[in-house]
Assembly symmetry: C2
DNA sequence: CCTCCTCGTGGAATCGATTACACGGAGGAT
DNA sequence: ATCCTCCGTGTAATCGATTCCACGAGGAGG
């Protein structure tokens, strides 16, 4: 492949001048500029990004370490991250941690070895050594969706508290009193937060959240199924199950269907994270929707701010409730709260 | 960040020896080896992959340019590609072309600029200039899922011909005669192939595929909706719609529901590409399942074979029909063909 | 006419690794 | 004792870019 030397030879100039033309440096004559661009054209020359990165100590690349690519929520996040990064002149390398701390660390170290300019992470657990090390070492970094308390890194996330309150109000208005939750891993912030918000919202209606109604999941479909089976085996099963992510909701749907039960008549279902498929499930699933695309874009902007020496602050965006039919039809036509209803 | 020189100083040896230890070169004394590993440990040294790549002219990185990350089929493909690559000691950089040739070219050139060792592509269209150039320039390359005829690059894909025959036999046995298809872009091989296979299978049953029953889609949900609306507006609408991918099936479901029609009573639906959500839609969707994970793994193996100087041949794996309820219940209890039935 | 700036350009150092080659010392063969 | 071989190690070239510094030409100002 042609190198900068070949271009210089072809243009009859030095590599220094060629480099200056390539980087839009002002002090180059119009004539030289033309000869260089012509030579580049003729040779089909493309600069070697590896060599350039070595010299300039920047790769114009962002690392994104995600908990689980197969989760549509994270897929959408990854997509918006890549879009915004591209708009800002950066590439993105995605690492899929699959909810495994060891894999997360593997990706973090690999990305650091490649000298990415900044790191976007939605941490799997309370903080793997490699990640903490990166944060301490001063690698520009931003947490997205989940974060690690006590680590001084901006967080871009959405606050589901209000939406969970809306959800509980909606369920309460529907007459449901025994509400259960399939929680995420206690080591993740989103895992804990959603349970807390749920419990709080319940309390506001004078309801309790007994331990039997808190199932421990891991954000994967399988755990949603297992936990739901446990709920259904209870002497007094819950009237509604709230899954803390969309994959566990899918598992819950599995378990319910396997028993020959029907949603919402026999048991209601709601989920955190809205996805296109929830419109088409049987029945359509009531869910809490995060502004996923906006989160991804905000995270990239915050990270690039840090990289380029600006401040790059934390961002929190509200989630909102999307009512569908999986918890039962409202008895009265009016909405239980100022909440948008999706088209059926 | 500590460099190899710092390690050499710390260990009281030359950079050459340090490098030899790091790369497991045999001719190093046990003593030197220990002193180096100790120094590495103390300094928390990690080799700079950028510098290493510049010198060795290999990045141990694969590029994967995918048509659409939001499509669960490609997500799963990407996941299996990354897994197999990791097992073989390679990283993967994913580029999302979003079914846009210009974006595809953007990613191909970016990846080439970064000097990736090999390229995995599922081409969006008949072949963008950058991609063709890469193939001609001798970049190790493998097509996955889709390919470009006339370009000498191994192809890893699945053959849906037999499964489509099974599907048509199934529909025919159910009594359906007016069968329509939502085709993919004619510029893609999968777009054309699926229509051809469908038409062929129809012919085997003495059925025709009139032009009015071929809708032109683009593998995105929106086109599935539009095409389906067209079908429903026909004086004699089809009894079953076969979508050439899962996203267009989702769109079809939208369109059908918007008219207040029911599947399968009013109209049947089948899709190419099976995904977990099809089990939970209303009703569960009959689909043709590709061995996605195996495709991704085979593609990586073929590509790495090429990179490392071995041959790396094309691979074709069969797809299979998964019968669910979206085309109607079989009148008689026996299966119409030797086909697996999924659990309801 | 001389001096001083500015501008365009080229030479060469540099980034952090790998690796060809040279070299010194130890040990075996003669 | 001499020579050869082999082994472990170090010196320096190299990969392909960027960029500091020096240099020469040409114009402005004295």
């Amino acid at each position: 492949m042609a190198g900068i030397k070949d271009v210089a030879a072809e243009a009859g100039l030095s590599v220094a001048t060629v480099s200056r033309v390539l980087n839009g440096h002002p002090s180059v004559s119009e004539d030289a500029r033309r000869r260089v661009t012509d030579a580049v054209e003729r040779l089909g020359y493309r600069p070697n990004a590896v060599a350039r990165s070595l010299r300039t100590d920047q790769t114009r690349t962002l690392g994104l370490v995600i908990s689980d690519v197969m989760n549509p929520y994270f897929t959408e996040l990854a997509r918006s991250v890549e879009e915004e990064a591209r708009a800002l002149g950066y590439s993105v390398i995605i690492g899929n941690a699959d909810e495994r701390p060891d894999l997360q660390d593997h990706h973090v170290t690999t990305l650091l070895d490649r000298r990415i300019d900044g790191l976007l992470v939605s941490p799997t657990d309370g903080g793997s050594p490699g990640m903490l090390g990166a944060a301490r070492a001063g690698t520009p970094m931003v947490f997205v969706d989940r974060w690690i308390p006590g680590v001084d890194v901006p967080v871009v996330r959405s606050d589901g508290r209000a939406a969970v309150r809306d959800l509980v109000a909606h369920l309460h208005a529907l007459g449901h009193r025994r509400l259960a939750i399939i929680a995420g891993p206690a080591a993740t912030t989103t895992g804990r937060e959603r349970v807390d918000a749920f419990r709080e919202a319940l309390a506001a209606h004078g309801l309790e959240l007994p331990d039997a109604y808190i199932g421990q999941g891991d954000f994967q479909a399988g755990s949603g199924r297992r936990v739901t089976e446990g709920f259904l085996d209870l002497a007094e099963p819950p009237e509604v199950v709230f899954a803390a992510d969309n994959l566990m909701a899918l598992g819950a749907l599995d378990a319910i269907r396997a028993r020959g039960l029907r949603v919402p008549d026999d048991i209601g279902l709601a989920a955190f994270d809205d996805i296109p498929w929830f419109v088409h499930t049987d029945p359509p699933v009531t869910a809490i929707a995060q502004p996923t695309g906006e989160l991804g874009r905000a995270a990239v902007r915050a990270l690039v701010d840090r990289i380029e020496g600006r401040t790059g602050a934390s961002v929190t965006l509200p989630a909102r409730l999307v009512v569908r039919r999986s918890c039962g039809e409202p008895a009265s036509p009016e909405s239980p709260s100022p909440v948008r209803r999706s088209t059926p």
